[in-house]
């Protein structure tokens, strides 16, 4: 019989142990039973904020729920262990069940530290650590007008930014005289503070909270200096507290400041009990980042197998994510010593601060701080960790050449093979190069899949990119997302070439910039670009369109097409409804209401399309562009005209916006929505752009998605008047059209956009690139060229002729057959 390992805690460290366990020889000797208190299997806590902004839990799981059983691990989630009996080697769970173990491992992590402030039990006070915490905050947000976050450290800033982006004015309260006191020096912290203030985050320093005011629920804070702050939502992020309660109860040694004490082999004083992760104190400290925790899991697996390995401490460099500006500190960031040399670069106007600490002889880098711009972070961290000798002018690191290639003369190529590139998974440069060179992992997703590098915090991804580029260059190759073998250009380059050279046809483009005859990739792409740039009638370019665009209808089973007239905002008169019914009846079309609030007519033969459309157009309909990579619908709720909750007239606004952008061609389809209040009946945040009425105006959300990869849209700007809202939309859509890759939806585009949402806001709202007016102008131009494609076709005999099945016969395609279904027809199987 196998012996049994019981693992308490299915968090990030616990999962890592499982993963290393199944890959080790331990599987032959032991069975593994895992307990998790949370309802979900282990998830990526580091990216908790993306759960906040709408990523579904499944996407954040470290392994799918079925993975454990598939690997012979028994996982019991939602079952907290309440005590350990070391004599009988058993544990007891909250369900009063007991389980025996041969080896017990504690990976209980930590909880958010909540200082004993008067009033912390009030409604509206939260921490920021688990899915459950986030659910509670989200549920409370609609009741709140103003938020505060206690704690100006790494996590507090992240939480504050998330709540702010959700639409609440937010203040950060820090006890110390500066933000991120453990990572930044006063100068760096000051720059960060002014950066955050630019985003409208209020920063309050030197504040110690005396009590949380309010009657039952939080209404404000009172500080020791007598001052007060109004707030109705409070997030406490004042540090972490290792969960050592089980160990304490079992009589194991815990640190006076919290944490299960283990030695460098992860052993407690009980030879049958080990502990790993954020719940332990080793080398006299708690290691509150995932990389060292993962390393502990590795150390333990090795030791249990009988190999000897020790946890020797870990690099605690960190880079802040998701707060709209870059902040990083690495190595010895804060040393104050006469015997070292520091180089400082500060640009207050641009909000940049950089500091490097060097040895007195200037040969080695000890550490440093980067605020406002941190592209060099990965490289500098490598230089410190690998004790690389600095080049002659180390200041070039923070002043001159940047990026993976040759920051001050050191490039990724110079790193030793042993350099740890991905610290979360502990993957060295050598391993990555092997995957690229020998296993052919010549793209980022392949490298991730092959080596697991970049799958943790994601911080090393730019460096993976650099390694790949470096390798490709060394082979005389390039990594550029060029379109296909016929055009050695990216979509954006082609966009510019077409525009600048006023190219109007695919043939001209191919003759000037391409080769061969083109293909199914570059033809529709060019069609889309020509349409996005000139908004010309696409039927003129029919043979380079995907079939849907070629016949201005969606191809369906058996080669028949569907017809979708535009119904802006989903509003339709009874008379027009009757026309649709009559047309459908006459041509025997199957009718169905779509998800975009309009009516789809299925089963039209290609030769029927012009006749059907002629009748619809005569009744006042226009093309709905359901077939195009173009604006589809702007869905609306009924809004204030009828709904008792409505803040504003969402239907009128939806119609206005849909009519403004109808026919707009883009890299992929575009959908919008307008809701009359936060209840969001139009599901606007699941769209590429969503507009939601508030009591002060309109909130504009962007880059949401439904479909296969659902994502809630992010707030771009709040409380706008209609005019400004439309202006920002103009800019946003035009910026997307100009810069996105082919067939890239807005949500994917944003996730790949360097600088993310913060950058997008800068460009659109603050006009940081100074292109706002130009974008608006270009949009105006496009809109002015709009024409209903179907109207153009039905009024033109030559174009109508393109809609027939055979060019040598008027016979219809006999392959099309139907069978009846619920009083309508459906295509018969081939």
């Amino acid at each position: 019989m196998k012996k049994r390992i019981v693992l308490i805690g299915n968090g990030m460290t616990g999962y890592k142990f499982c993963e290393k366990f199944v890959a080790s020889s331990l599987v032959h000797e032991y069975e593994l039973l895992v307990f998790g208190e949370e309802p979900h299997p282990a998830y990526d806590r580091v990216h908790l904020t993306s759960y906040y902004t709408g990523t579904v839990p499944e996407e954040l799981l470290l392994a799918p729920a079925g993975w454990y059983a598939e690997h012979g691990i028994e996982l019991r989630t939602h079952e907290r262990i309440t005590s350990i009996d070391r004599n009988s080697k058993t544990i007891i769970s909250e369900k009063n069940l007991s389980y025996s173990y041969d080896i017990l491992i504690l990976s209980t992590g930590s909880s958010a530290f909540v200082p004993p402030i008067e009033g912390v039990e009030k409604k509206g006070v939260f921490v920021y650590r688990t899915f459950d915490d986030i659910d509670k905050i989200k549920a409370y947000i609609p009741n709140a007008k103003k938020a505060a976050v206690i704690g100006g450290g790494l996590l507090g800033l992240e939480a504050a930014k998330a709540v702010l982006d959700d639409g609440l004015p937010t203040s950060i309260i820090e006890f110390a005289p500066r933000l991120m006191p453990r990572q930044l020096d006063p100068q760096g912290a000051e720059i960060l503070k002014s950066k955050l203030e630019e985003f409208n985050l209020e920063v309050m320093l030197n504040k110690s909270t005396k009590c949380i005011m309010g009657n039952g629920s939080v209404q404000g804070l009172e500080f020791n200096d007598g001052s007060k702050l109004d707030t109705d939502l409070l997030v406490i992020s004042a540090g972490i507290r290792p969960r050592d309660e089980l160990a304490k109860q079992a009589g194991l040694e815990v640190h006076p400041r919290g944490g299960i004490v283990v030695n460098s082999k992860m052993e407690t004083a009980d030879p049958g009990i080990f502990a790993i992760g954020e719940c332990v104190v080793v080398h006299n400290m708690v290691w509150g980042l995932v990389a060292p925790c993962y390393e502990m899991a590795e150390v333990l697996v090795q030791n249990l197998q009988g190999d000897s390995k020790e946890f020797l401490g870990f690099d605690l460099s960190s880079k802040l994510k998701l707060i709209g500006t870059d902040v990083a500190s690495f190595g010895d960031a804060l040393v104050e010593d006469k015997n070292i040399k520091t180089i400082v670069y500060e640009n207050k106007a641009r909000g940049i601060y950089k500091r490097l600490n060097l040895t007195a002889d200037g040969k080695y880098l000890l550490g440093g701080i980067l605020v406002g711009e941190a592209e060099e972070y990965n490289m500098l961290k490598q230089v410190v960790n690998n004790k690389m000798v600095l080049p002659e002018n180390p200041e070039d690191f923070i002043l001159g050449a940047r990026g993976g290639e040759g920051a001050a003369g050191i490039s990724v190529g110079d790193l030793p093979d042993a350099a740890s590139i991905c610290s979360c998974e502990n993957i060295s440069k050598g391993q990555i190069m092997q995957a690229i060179e020998q296993d052919g992992a010549e793209a980022l997703p392949l490298i991730k899949k092959c080596t697991k590098a970049g799958t943790g915090c994601g911080g090393c991804v730019p460096m993976l990119d650099d390694l790949l580029t470096h390798y490709m260059k060394s082979q005389g190759r390039e990594v550029r997302k060029t379109i296909c073998e016929h055009f050695n250009y990216t979509r954006q380059e082609l966009y510019d070439l077409i525009k600048v050279n006023e190219i109007k046809t695919f043939n001209d483009l191919l003759a000037t910039y391409g080769k061969g005859s083109g293909c199914e990739l570059c033809k529709p792409l060019t069609a889309s670009l020509l349409a996005s740039i000139w908004n010309d009638v696409i039927v003129k370019h029919d043979t380079i369109q995907d079939t849907n665009d070629r016949f201005l209808a969606n191809i369906q089973q058996r080669g028949v097409y569907s017809v979708v007239p535009r119904i802006p905002g989903g509003e339709i008169t009874p008379d027009k409804l009757i026309v649709i019914g009559q047309v459908a009846k006459k041509y025997d079309l199957y009718t169905k209401i779509t998800g975009g609030q309009r009516i789809d007519l299925f089963g039209a033969r290609v030769d029927q399309l012009p006749n059907i459309w002629e009748e619809l157009i005569d009744a006042g309909f226009e093309s709905g562009h359901a077939y195009g990579k173009a604006l589809r619908t702007v869905k609306s709720c009924v809004g204030s005209t009828w709904c008792r909750f409505g803040m504003d007239d969402s239907v009128s606004f939806a119609i206005e916006v849909e009519n403004r952008y109808k026919g707009l061609r883009s890299p992929h389809k575009l959908k919008g929505g307008v809701s009359g209040c936060v209840r969001e009946c139009a599901e606007a945040r699941g769209k590429d752009f969503g507009i939601i009425a508030t009591d002060k105006g309109w909130n504009l959300f962007v880059c949401g998605n439904g479909g296969a990869n659902p994502r809630h849209a992010d707030l771009l700007a709040s409380d706008l008047d209609k005019e400004t809202c439309v202006r920002y939309l103009d800019r946003f859509l035009m910026f997307y059209i100009k810069t996105a890759g082919p067939l890239t939806r807005t949500s994917k585009w944003l996730s790949e956009l360097e600088g993310g949402l913060g950058y997008l806001k800068d460009v659109i709202v603050k006009d940081s690139l100074g292109i706002g007016e130009k974008l608006e102008q270009e949009m105006k131009e496009l809109i002015s060229h709009y024409q209903c494609e179907w109207t153009t076709v039905v009024r033109n005999e030559e174009m109508r002729k393109k809609f027939r099945h055979f060019v040598n016969s008027d016979q219809i395609d006999e392959n099309i057959k139907y069978v009846p279904m619920r009083g309508q027809k459906m295509p018969a199987k081939v």
């Binding site: 005859s517 083109g518 043979t543 016949f551 055979f806």
Partner: protein, 117 residues
Amino acid sequence: METQTITEVKEWIKAAAVEDFPENGGAAVLINGEQIAVFNFTNEGRWYATQNQCPHKGEMAISRGLTGDSEGHPKVACPFHKRTFSLEDGKCLTDEQYQLKTYPVKVENGFVFIGIE
């Protein structure tokens, strides 16, 4: 070496006038009750013909596919699920199990003729 079976053309059937076909694209013709896809590579001055039915799901759609080339070899992509086929020998380039029947084409006096075995 691959062997190519040269089928003897028994009959050239007049399909339609050149201008009935789109430039650099395809169209279907009905010949002896059979649907045939004809492709006009205007830029190269070449013509190809294949069966119109896609062997993947049996859709009558090859003529509506996008044409182009892969390293100089002419091809067409079925609009349904983007299987691509060589227009030289009808082989499916993305999935070996499929094959299109091809037909010889000639142009005379402004008319397109399809060769039938």
